[in-house]
Amino acid sequence: MKIVVCIKQVPERDARLRIAPDGRSVDSAGAATEINESDQYALEAGLRLAEGVGGEVVALLLGPDGAEEAIRRALAMGATRAIHLNDAAFQEGDASANARALAAAAGAESPDLILTGLQSDDAGWSQTGVLLAERLGWPSATLIMEIEPPADGRIKVKRELESGWFQWITLPLPAVLTIQSGIYPVRYATLKGIMGAKKKEMKKMAPADLGLDPGQVGAAGRRVEVRRLYVPEKSAEAEILQGDAATAAATLVDRLQKEAKVL
């Protein structure tokens, strides 16, 4: 079984974000990064499936040079090889432009399954996986909590619905699944995995390698544009209690008793 897992590099969760001078993007120079959380779960799900039924996991990432760190990590976790869509033309794409590039690259691999995370922790469009399914003409399912090994050309998965409801469905392969965080505990890269990752194939690709015109990807191919990125004005400000831990704790108890009257 051949599985392509799309991963994205995002700022680390606690990273201090700086708005770039263009006022439309985040200045990522020197910022700590990680593989997007739900993509880590997608990778884990892909690796488990491949280990169970035999096969390979190809990590696919669109991003600049610095995103190689995320690819190395995916290879260290167990991906067989990686494809890095890395070209100036890919920059500043929206979900639509990025999905066009990812669909071309993933489709060329003719996998049985493509996995993505549910949504990215930076842009948070929650569109990419489903967009690339439609571009490939494949069926898709989202918010996947469990995956059973495929049988008779179909795969059975458990979806999370709204209001505490769940659903078991089947869909024919090839298919795209977007993975919900928490599906399986994510493995750590072992030292052996980290050493082995250095020898694995990492193929860099540009639009022409995908049969795409540079005008179809990145800023030129987008349908949605971020005009301004800014720190939101806070509607209501919390009263921040000062002092060391003991002082702040004492003030809080006092406020909860006398002001909020909830203790």
């Binding site: 619905l161 709204e162 919390a238 921040i240």
Partner: protein, 330 residues
């Protein structure tokens, strides 16, 4: 109608899902700003019956899109049905609630129509006649003003709670209801639904708790939970968590607060080591008094909190537990 704004109503057991009225409220604001007519599209099994309820709201007309293939919901026929309707009527904007179901099929529609799709929008305004859609990327830490580029229909989904259902104005008389003819005979339904069910193990009903102490990723590891348990016990409250804590299996899923967990509004809510991603905030922001303890002074949780302590939870929580015990004599 060409140039119209459509607000798509999602059905749940044949009834308009509550957030669909929020989408109508958002649509009314956009329609007023752009001077375009607003129509509602009711899509899915039982749409005809549900349309009467939607028609009470101030919309030009209600379009009914129903077909046996839309029951139960699966993405292929939903995508085909609305694509056919959009191609026939050429609306300028199609609006949705940002539900799990919408996320499952509307990106397909966007790709099929080659349309732009601005998802998870919290506000809309018109800058010199051009609509600007506000989103909250980076886990709600930043705001982004988004505009559409290029031609074609424009798709938008609105975050739950960004608009109020009650703000969806009623019309003076019920709106006209029309059947939208669509032919799904050639559409293959590839997804097969086997079973739809609720997990029975939702044992803890946090919605009845008076005091909740919720813990987030900041706790670091499962072994540290005792610290927060002690505080919850001292306050006579229930222990709860944000999604990452449950994803890591440090606490069971039935302790989870947020969009994929329980929605609560206790008298007192303490958020410990929770940054306050929107998925968490929607589950607790209506609590009486909210206290946040977090090391990051810029964490979004402080924007909904009444009191905040910026500091190391491993110092603050034990100090707080001691003080609460002393005060309450427990």
């Amino acid at each position: 109608m060409a140039g119209a704004i459509w607000a798509v109503t999602q059905l749940e057991q044949g009834e308009p899902k509550g957030v669909s009225y929020e989408t109508i409220a958002a649509g009314q604001k956009l329609a007023a700003a752009l001077g375009k007519p607003l129509e509602s599209v009711v899509l899915g099994a039982g749409a005809r019956t549900a349309a009467a309820k939607v028609a009470a709201r101030k919309v030009e007309r209600v379009r009914v899109v129903d077909d046996p293939k839309l029951d139960p919901y699966t993405p292929d026929p939903y995508t085909a049905a609305l694509r056919l309707a959009v191609e026939a009527e050429t609306p300028d904007y199609v609006l949705f609630p940002h539900t799990y179901q919408v996320r499952d099929w509307v990106p397909r529609l966007a790709a099929a129509l080659d349309a732009g799709f601005v998802s998870d929008v919290i506000d809309v305004r018109a800058d010199g006649g051009e609509p600007v859609f506000v989103r909250q990327p980076f886990q709600g830490k930043l705001n982004a003003d988004c505009v559409f580029a290029g031609a074609g229909p424009r798709l938008v989904s609105f975050q739950a709670g960004a608009f109020l259902a009650d703000d969806a104005q009623k019309g003076e008389s019920p709106a006209e209801i029309v059947d939208q003819a669509i032919d799904l005979s050639g559409v293959e339904v590839r997804t097969q639904v086997l079973d739809t069910f609720q997990e029975v193990e939702n044992k803890v009903d946090l919605s009845r708790a008076d005091v909740i102490v919720a813990v987030g990723r900041g706790i670091g590891k499962q072994e540290n939970l005792g610290l927060v348990e002690e505080l919850a016990a001292a306050l006579g409250g229930q222990l709860a968590a944000s999604r990452p804590v449950c994803d890591n299996e440090w606490l069971p899923m039935d302790r989870q607060i947020g969009s994929s967990g329980q929605t609560v509004a206790p008298r007192l809510y303490l958020a410990v080591g929770i940054s306050g991603a929107i998925q968490h905030l929607v589950g607790m922001k209506n609590s009486g008094t909210i206290v946040a303890i977090n090391k990051d002074a810029n964490a979004p949780i402080f924007s909904v909190a009444d009191y905040g302590i910026v500091g190391d939870l491993f110092e603050v929580v034990p100090a707080l537990t001691a003080k609460v015990k002393e005060t309450r004599g427990v």
